[in-house]
């Protein structure tokens, strides 16, 4: 659009620049600064150097527990959810009568997503007198203490998030549908079985979306808050006390803003390092169409 000033576009994006500066860049830098201070909202932030971090790694047993719970949760939830999502996407990627009904049914739990209502539902379904135990008893099993037992509580929250695999599945499904069909025909005429076809043709071709889903789901899992906050309040015995809960408690219950910022930065750095690792390793396993390597 020739005659316009070269700054015209800048006017259109100016809301973003303003928003980014005020609500992202400024808070981002401030939180880094705050992590080196002691700040209780009553008096001005007081510089304490590395003290918060020292306390975190040397003296804070709650942090140690919370960190290990968080890592366990992510290591459990992300692979389970993605495998399940991919599996269902493969099953759905087929011309069956009524396939749209299934697609919708599978997607509804995810659309309701992180809502409080669903967490509430979960709390009652897995309660001691809840639906799941009723069905287990009917089938002749022993009722399970889903939330009361520290060994089970975290897994029950993982189950909730796996139940909401829909958006990862929809992305997988779109990728599966874009795979060139002639490749399958050629392979099956050459005598390849279904598993071989999946392993050697489908899987390499959809690595870009596997990569995308992996990163998005990991970043999200590290920030899980609603599930444990509403269902278990972090308990029992802190077995579901994820880092975001700890940060929330330190910041908005104890008003220890400096210490909470330090925990937030540790969490952020973990996410960052893992994301960078994923990007770095992607050169070795992610295949992009039109790419010479294969």
């Amino acid at each position: 659009m020739g005659g316009d000033s070269k700054y015209l576009g800048l006017w259109y994006v100016s809301p973003y620049i303003l928003g980014f500066a005020m609500f992202t860049a400024f808070p981002f830098i401030t939180s880094f600064y705050l992590s080196f201070t002691d700040y209780d909202l009553l008096s001005a932030p007081e510089w304490v150097g590395l003290e918060n971090y020292e306390k975190l790694f040397e003296r804070d047993r709650t942090f140690k527990k919370s960190l290990s719970v968080t890592l366990t949760y992510v290591a459990l939830t992300v692979p389970l959810k993605l495998t399940f999502a991919l599996f269902i996407a493969v099953v759905l990627n087929y011309r069956l009568r009524g396939i749209n009904v299934f697609r919708t049914a599978y997607y509804v739990p995810s659309i309701l997503g992180g809502s409080v209502a669903i967490a509430v539902l979960w709390r009652y379904i897995f309660a001691e007198a809840g639906l799941v135990n009723m069905i287990i008893t009917m089938l002749g099993g022993e009722p399970v203490n889903w939330f009361g037992d520290p060994g089970n509580a975290l897994f029950t929250i993982t189950l909730l998030r796996c139940w909401q695999f829909g958006s990862a599945m929809v992305i997988f499904l779109a990728a599966l549908q874009s795979v060139d069909k002639s490749l399958y025909e050629a392979a099956s005429i050459d005598g390849a079985g279904p598993w071989q076809i999946f392993r050697n043709i489908t899987l390499p071709l959809i690595t870009p979306v596997i990569f995308f889903n992996l990163i998005m789901q990991t970043v999200q899992a590290f920030q899980e808050f609603n599930g444990p906050y509403i269902i278990t309040q972090g308990g029992p015995l802190k077995s579901t006390y994820l880092l975001p809960l700890y940060i929330y408690d330190e910041a908005f219950k104890s008003f220890d803003m400096g210490y909470a910022s330090a925990i937030a930065w540790v969490l952020f750095l973990i996410i960052m390092v893992l994301t960078l690792l994923a990007f770095w390793s992607s050169k070795k396993w992610v295949y992009y169409a039109g790419d010479k390597r294969s």
């Binding site: 973003y16 609500f23 279904p194 970043v219 929330y248």
Partner: protein
């Protein structure tokens, strides 16, 4: 295997006896369809039954909830709704729904307008610093909110906005959700520019072009942005938990959490019936616009 059903069924067309390979493929296809159906139905039941049970339980008496896993209520009653609606606070649930609307409406409108402007700027103009800004936009897609939350709180506290709805929707007026900007940009890139160029030749300025040419073509994208934002805002829990402290101003999500804490342990139907009500707006929106939802997710990629 996935696409065997796409192969044309030639044997019927040219009446030659089917070759062994064709027979094998056909048998495989039939078996595979059967397995898929069984799988889909079993998994589908697991997916949907908790929701069915929830809706059924809302109409049951408490004793029935604890005695039967079957979802259909034997003697449907509105007792749960009547009790749950009143809540343990001086306000009824309708009040909390209205509160949610005071957050959702300004947020959705602000998001739609600001994201369209910004996406138009990125997709249709060259300007100094565009590359860096776009890189920042992409980077913020991955930036965990957890690291900016505390200073944001301090900022809003400084502004005197605590216990108001402002912190919940003002950031969206300045394109606070990078994800939506990105989604609209992707959509705009796929639209050819001829119409806009014709309008410019006829003497329209860029703002007129945006309003009269681009926005009508972008409508599907803008609508999905609005729908997503509607549902995410209705479902948002942590935001109001941090910023809203008086019960009078609670949105539905917080009110629901409050009702679990305040209700006696065995009065489930009151809570479950309000849970059903809390889900209705999102479900309605989803079924009204299912198609654009699923498209939006597959083009932009989405949280959830």
């Amino acid at each position: 295997m996935v696409t065997l059903s796409d192969l044309p069924d030639q044997s019927r067309a040219d009446r030659t006896p089917p070759t062994p390979l064709e027979l094998k493929l056909r048998r495989q296809r039939r078996v595979s369809s059967a397995i898929r159906y069984v799988l889909l139905i079993v998994v589908g039941l697991i997916m949907v039954y908790p929701l069915l049970w929830l809706v059924g339980a809302a109409f049951k008496t408490n004793s029935e909830i604890f005695n039967s896993p079957w979802f259909w209520p034997a003697r449907p009653t509105l007792e749960g709704f009547r009790e749950g609606w009143e809540t343990s606070t001086p306000y009824n649930f309708g009040h909390f729904f209205l509160n949610s609307m005071w957050i959702v409406i300004p947020k959705v409108i602000g998001t739609a307008i600001s994201c369209t402007l910004v996406a138009y700027g990125f997709a249709r103009f060259e300007f100094p610093g565009k590359k860096i800004l776009f890189a920042i936009l992409i980077a913020t897609l991955l930036l965990p909110d957890v690291v900016t939350r505390i200073p944001q709180y301090l900022l809003f506290r400084e502004l005197g906005w605590l216990d108001t709805y402002l912190p919940l929707f003002v950031p969206s007026w300045v394109a606070g959700d990078a994800f939506f900007v990105f989604m609209v940009i992707q959509f705009l890139r796929a639209i050819p520019r001829e119409m806009e160029e014709a309008a410019r030749v006829d003497g329209a300025n860029t703002a007129q072009t945006l309003i009269f040419i681009v926005v009508p073509m972008l409508m599907p994208a803008i609508i999905s942005v609005c729908l997503f934002q509607f549902m995410w805002t209705m479902n948002d829990f942590l935001g109001p938990l941090i910023y809203i402290s008086s019960v009078e101003k609670y949105p539905v999500s917080i009110a629901l959490k409050l009702s679990i804490d305040a209700t006696e342990a065995f009065n489930w139907n009151a809570i479950l019936s309000m849970t059903v009500l809390a889900l209705i707006p999102s479900l309605v929106v989803f079924f009204l616009a299912q198609k654009s939802f699923i498209e939006g997710i597959s083009t932009g990629g989405v949280k959830g």
